[in-house]
């Protein structure tokens, strides 16, 4: 398979406002793909189109060759496309472990009657998934918080829980929306290492990020977006020095003189 995710000529409008305009992005398996651009550029809108929350007006999105354009979010997630959110969407009153096991839901073989009667098939399924939760908590260093309400933990830990939850679904591609937002320096370093480890597992990752150090370190390929349009794409070193990118973030010389 050449590409795990193919976004082709995708456009999204909101009542005449062009949020994203003719974007083409192709992610290879095992690649970390960065999406960067100033605030309001349309990056999260793009992610929402990929994960099915929005339906693009134009273009197509293919996952492992299958057209998922406009498919319902849960169906896309069931196929192996999992995401985290910019503002962290955890189930705050529930314990960390209960949050993480939410990710295993699509892989669960329980039927409706298992909610009424606990057969041996149920026990096998539950055990398997709680053990997966245990594994993930160990990986993220969250073991001691298993029974703590997720909302009680630090922002950095909440990010980890969200990622653990996404990983619990055995995704093939992980969509991360500003994973470093709100993290301090130590937490960011920790996160960078975690993402590298995830890459080693063979997952593809598509990531929106503003932290340039992190982006340069982690990504294999980047697309830069501004006002919904692609303004540059390429390897990190190329994008870093592309004048169009610099202009988008900082502005041209003329603007600086004002």
């Amino acid at each position: 398979m050449e590409y795990v995710l193919e976004i082709e000529n995708v456009s999204k409008f909101f009542h005449g406002l062009v949020a994203i305009d003719d974007l083409t992005i192709k992610v290879k398996p095992g690649q970390i793909y960065g999406i960067i651009g100033p605030n309001g550029a349309g990056k999260t809108t793009l992610f929402n189109c990929v994960t099915g929350i929005y339906t693009p007006e134009e273009g197509s999105i293919k996952y492992k060759g299958e057209d998922i354009t406009g498919m319902e979010p849960h169906k896309i997630a069931q196929r192996g496309v999992l995401r985290t959110f910019q503002n962290i969407r955890l189930f705050k009153e529930m314990s960390v472990a209960e949050n993480i096991i939410a990710g295993t839901h699509t892989k669960s073989k329980q039927k409706w009657y298992h909610s009424i009667v606990h057969t041996s098939a149920y026990r096998v399924d539950e055990k398997k998934h709680w053990e997966k939760v245990e594994e993930l908590m160990d990986f993220f260093g969250l073991t001691k918080y298993a029974n703590t309400p997720a909302g009680d933990l630090s922002y950095g830990n909440q990010r980890k829980i969200e990622m653990a939850r996404a990983l619990a679904a055995n995704p093939e591609i992980l969509i991360l929306d500003e994973p470093a937002a709100g993290l301090n320096e130590n937490e960011t370093i920790e996160l960078t290492n975690i993402i590298l480890k995830i890459k080693e597992m063979g997952l593809g990752i598509m990531m929106i990020e503003h932290d340039m150090e992190m982006v340069m370190k982690l990504t294999d390929y980047i697309t830069v977006i501004n006002f919904g349009k692609e303004i540059s794409q390429g390897e990190p070193s190329f994008v870093q020095s592309d004048p169009r990118v610099i202009e988008a973030y900082i502005g041209t010389d003329d603007e600086e003189d004002e």
Partner: protein
Amino acid sequence: MNKTTGIATLFIVVMAVFPFIVDSAWLSIGITFLVFAVVAFSQDIILGRAGIFNMGHAIFFGMGAYTTAILNVHFGLEIIATIPFAIIIPAIFSILLAGPIIHLRGDYLLVATIGFNIIFEQVLSNDVFGLTGGPNGIFGIDVVRIFGYELFSDTAIYYLAFGLLVLTLLIIRNLDTSAYGRALYYIHKDEIAAKSMGINVSYYKLFAFALGAAIAGAAGSVFAIQYSAVSPESFNFMQSVMFFAIVLVGGSASLPGIIIGTFVMFVLPELFTEFKESRYLIFGAAMVLTMILRPNGVWPAKFGNIPKFLKEKALKARKSEGSK
């Protein structure tokens, strides 16, 4: 043993010996309490756990009751044989009714359920197909017969209701520790996050409805047996409002909360019959006050339905960290 299991066990033990410590008037109240507690628990599945604004739950309670009444009085079926129908028919109807409205925003769904309830009342009152009996309902429901034994004493009916309650509590406990049960919480707390985890929200909401309706239907059957009659006014939307309020005033998804809520809404008024006139006024004021003082209910639910081995591991990890 955690707190909730402890309370549940205590409650079950007390209710088990209840008939032996009270007189017949109280026994009847006890039966009513058990039946309504079951309905409240079933509403809790829909409203408390899945977070669906269902204000028409009396429909399913009523369908169960009327199914037993109609099948027994009009078609001569043995009461015992009517019970499976009283469970399945409300469940099917819940899916038919909720299906078209399940994707609606909370408040709209709420009003739609009220609408269904009112239509249901009219169907009952207008003696549709000559089956539903009109405003006076249906009389002359038979006695329960199992293996030749007749259960006509209040005590026998009490234990029938008690059995149903215990069954309901077991189902709810199994629900809470299953994937489907967890899915309901996820949907309640954050639908978008749930969808992003691959949870088909509409499917699970309908599941909640069906399960809640099935259990309410069973309770309806027992209700019909208790009174040997059914009438439309027991299943009007004021009743639905009561069930709605019980869950929220007591505490969503909270076992002690639901029990307290049922007790306050249905048993307490019996204690204060002298205040019968101002009963509902005091209720209403209590509802307002409770929400102001405890917006999450008198006894809010606590989470933490995780396997013991994880809890122990967490504890160990914390201890080893503390000793460093």
